[in-house]
């Protein structure tokens, strides 16, 4: 290497060192700048990092809050679901969802086993319909269709086959709704098991609507059935025959054989009636011994009449539980709907009227009476009397007539019988007929009260006049049954300040049909007050000397029917003599009613009859006429001149 080349290289190296220094300085400046940049970047990174931490912390907190909220919501939801499931479980209920598009039924709830359905997701609706009771299926489908078409809520009871294969009652409720993300149309609801409740209701209904003894429908049930029957009949234009059956004198069966046997007879009789189910649409027990039979519309009235006759024949001999045989006497009344009555009340009135006609012949045995024009006329006549009576009671338009009674011993008038009169009465009617209607309709209670009031007013007048003659008033058995007669009389006695011994209460033998012990007690109350009691029309009804003996009576009035034949040498005379003798032996006085002839008077006097009453002495007269009778007011022996112009 030459000196010059060495110098060149040295020069290069010196320059290189200089360049390297410059380069290093450049690098240091660059490094410094980069360091500063890096520091700045680092600072920004730190800030960003801190910001990020804050954001992360905030986001984390928000996330925790959301998570907590979701957890709480989930818990609440779960609690609600648990509660709902518990309630469903307690109520023996399930929820159901009918998917309209897929025609599937989704049933949820622990009790779904009640329906005999496995806990699967959804089952075809047709499969479930197979489990619905045939009688309920149509109604359920109609309800479902109404819900789908008109949005009507479902509320229906139906029977569904349970797991064990038997049908049980369920209450199904549901409403139109939507479900799922696509808001699919559905009907959603509940199905609550209420078998026991329905069964109880049915049992309650059965007990409320059926006679416990015979198991037949009772009056209440019959009336509601009749409403349906009547509307169907009117709609179809096909009438039907109704028959009211009354067992004659059933109380005697109870009295004779006891209630147990009596109940057995009623049960057997109900079975006999059931035996006619081929011809009847309804049979019901209306009261103790009254039954109603509704024949099918295709059973003609004459045919129904024949069937009733057959029923009567089949009851002619019935075997009792004690082995004895008994002939059951029936009174049957038939009427046709709507011809004889277009409503329940009218039809029942008709059959009752027919029965009443039959009852008049009950002494000859069973009878079957078809309602007819004559009965109808009679019924309307009674109705007219009833309406006029009501008006007369309101207006107090009754009056009394008095028929004096003569004492056979003193030959003086000793008292009189007050007889009911109605001055404004329609002349077509007679007074006995009016009294009968009043008795049958219960109006006798009001009439009787007014009679007592009027009689007391006259008694008071007699007392004021110083005339000591007794007045007899007739008191109906119905009054004894439904009114406190002793209290009624007691008040009147006080009010009018009348001597109680001047009042005679006449009762008919029909009173014996009542509870004799109670009647004896009531009559005793009267006699204790000083009032005297007489048995009226003795011999016309349930004459029983045993009963007479039990009652605290003063007089016995022999029925006019016996008196009519006295003196003519018939057997009536013997009977009258026997009654007089027996009455005297028991300490009772005897009054002969309806004495019209001298022969009758003579005979009765010779038989020792105590008192005589009748046209022979005086017809019933007004009070004013009564007191004008010299013999009555003065109390002197009769001049023996009767209104017939006869002298005793």
């Amino acid at each position: 290497m030459t000196q010059s080349s060495i110098e060149i290289e040295l020069g290069y190296l010196r320059k290189k060192i200089g360049r390297e220094k410059d380069a290093r300085m450049q690098a240091e400046v660059l490094l410094e700048r980069k360091s500063t940049e890096l520091f700045g970047i680092n600072q920004r990174l730190l800030e960003a990092n801190q910001n990020l931490d804050v954001i992360v912390a905030r986001r984390t907190q928000a996330l925790k809050t959301s998570t907590k909220r979701v957890e709480l919501t989930t818990d609440e939801l779960q609690n609600t679901v648990n509660r709902l499931n518990l309630v469903l479980d307690i109520a023996n209920a399930v929820t159901w969802l009918f998917d309209v598009r897929n025609q599937t039924m989704d049933i949820a709830g622990k009790s779904q086993s009640l329906l005999g359905i496995e806990p699967t997701k959804a089952i075809p609706a047709d499969d479930l319909l197979l489990r619905i009771h045939t009688d309920d299926k149509k109604e359920l489908i109609e309800e479902l269709n109404l819900t789908l078409k008109k949005g009507k809520a479902i509320n229906i009871r139906c029977r569904i086959m349970s797991r064990c294969g038997s049908f049980r009652w369920f209450l199904i409720n549901g409403e139109l709704s939507s479900f799922g993300a696509k808001s699919s149309l559905c009907v959603i609801g509940s199905c609550i098991e209420m078998h026991e409740q329905v069964e109880r209701e049915r049992e309650i209904w059965r007990v409320a609507n059926h006679d416990v003894l015979t198991g037949l429908p009772n009056r209440n049930h019959f009336e509601s059935q009749f409403a349906v029957l009547a509307s169907e009949s009117l709609a179809s234009g096909e009438g039907f025959t109704a028959a009211l059956v009354d067992i004659n004198d059933f109380t005697q069966i109870n009295d004779t054989y006891g209630y147990r046997i009596g109940d057995g007879v009623l049960r057997d009789f109900a079975d006999v009636l059931r035996g006619y189910s081929e011809h009847t649409s309804h049979v019901a027990r209306l009261s103790g011994d009254e039954y109603i039979i509704i024949f099918k519309s295709n059973v003609a009235t004459w045919s129904a009449h024949e069937l009733c006759q057959k029923l009567i024949d089949s009851c002619a001999t019935m075997s009792l539980q004690n082995g004895e045989r008994l002939g059951l006497s029936l009174t049957m009344g038939l009427a046709v709907f709507p011809k004889d009555g277009g409503s329940l009340d009218d039809l029942m009135q008709s059959v009752y009227s027919a029965v009443q006609v039959g009852k008049q012949k009950k002494h000859i045995g069973s009878s079957c009476v078809l309602y007819n024009a004559a009965i109808e006329r009679e019924r309307f006549r009674e109705k007219d009397i009833r309406n006029a009576l009501k008006l007369a009671i309101e207006k107090q338009s009754f009056d009394l007539a008095f028929q004096p009674v003569m004492c056979n011993e003193s030959k003086c008038f000793v008292g009189c019988e007050a007889l009911f009169r109605w001055p404004d009465m329609d002349p077509q009617w007679n007074i006995q007929e009016v009294i009968d209607v009043a008795e049958n309709s219960g109006l006798i209670l009001d009439v009787g009260e007014q009679v007592i009031a009027m009689a007391f007013a006259k008694l008071s007048r007699l007392s004021e006049m110083g005339v000591k003659k007794w007045v007899a008033i007739n008191v109906s058995p119905l009054q004894f049954q439904f009114q406190d007669v002793p209290q009624l009389i007691s008040k009147a006695l006080v009010k009018h300040n009348v001597d109680p011994s001047m009042l005679v209460v006449e009762v008919t033998e029909n009173i014996f049909l009542e509870n004799i012990t109670r009647i004896a007690a009531v009559l005793s109350q009267l006699t204790k007050m000083g009032v005297r009691v007489a048995i009226d029309d003795f011999g016309s009804g349930y004459s029983s000397l045993r009963y007479v003996q039990m009652l605290p009576i003063d007089k016995i009035k022999i029925d006019k029917a016996f008196i009519d034949n006295v003196g003519s040498g018939t057997e009536s005379q013997g009977i009258v003599q026997a009654v007089i003798n027996m009455s005297h032996s028991m300490g009772y006085k005897v009054v002969a009613e309806g004495v019209e002839t001298q022969e009758q008077l003579t005979a009765l006097q010779s038989m020792g009859c105590d008192y005589i009453q009748g046209y022979f002495f005086s017809k019933p007269v007004s009070f004013d006429e009564l007191i004008k009778l010299d013999d009555f007011s003065k109390g002197s022996p009769l001049v023996l001149k009767t209104h017939l112009g006869r002298t005793l």
Partner: protein, 180 residues
């Protein structure tokens, strides 16, 4: 252009031609930087062209050859940096195929202001590719030298041929690489 290109070029000149040529080279060029380069700095690419042109005058070696020789010399230095970045490839073709998709992306992360050429790669088969070089700078031969250096680095024999399609606005060269 990154400083390493300059520092390594000076290093190549010093190693290959000696200090006297290196002194003549630097003295003969009126470089804005004065030839004081640091690897981490950034310098105008015109200085490389000036240096290569001056070296061509001093040595009589064509600029294209000088650039290819420089690429061959430079590749191991770049490979060392690549390894420090944990970039690994199965071989030369694999690396060349990943030039645009992986290596340039990583370079841009380090030097966001770097101005890199684009290489559109056409795969002929597993051992042959065509690289479409596009740049505003005339460094297609430097690219060829680097490809050669890549083959040496992986000890694979590569046949590299070039077809220039330069326009007035762009340097465009198709570089075919086949591994034999």
């Amino acid at each position: 252009m990154k400083g390493i290109i300059f520092t390594e070029f000076i290093e190549l000149v010093e190693t290959t031609y000696g200090f006297s040529i290196a002194a003549a080279l630097l003295d003969g060029c009126d470089l804005p930087s004065g030839g004081a380069y640091t690897a981490v700095g950034t310098y105008d690419h015109q200085e490389v062209l000036t240096l290569v042109g001056q070296l061509q005058k001093l040595t009589g070696t064509p600029a294209s050859d000088l650039l290819e020789a420089y690429g061959l010399f430079l590749f191991p230095k770049l490979a060392a940096q690549m390894e420090s970045m944990s970039l690994k490839f199965d071989g030369a073709i694999d690396l060349l195929c990943s030039l645009e998709t992986i290596i340039h992306k990583e370079v841009l992360k380090l030097y966001p202001d770097a101005e890199l050429p684009s290489f559109n790669i056409q795969n002929i088969n597993s051992k042959e590719i065509v690289m479409e070089y596009r740049s505003c700078r005339p460094f297609a031969h430097l690219a060829k030298g680097l490809i050669d250096g890549c083959g040496e680095y992986y000890q694979q024999t590569l046949s590299v041929s070039m077809k220039h399609l330069n326009t007035k606005t762009e340097f465009h060269t198709l570089i075919s690489v086949r591994q034999s």
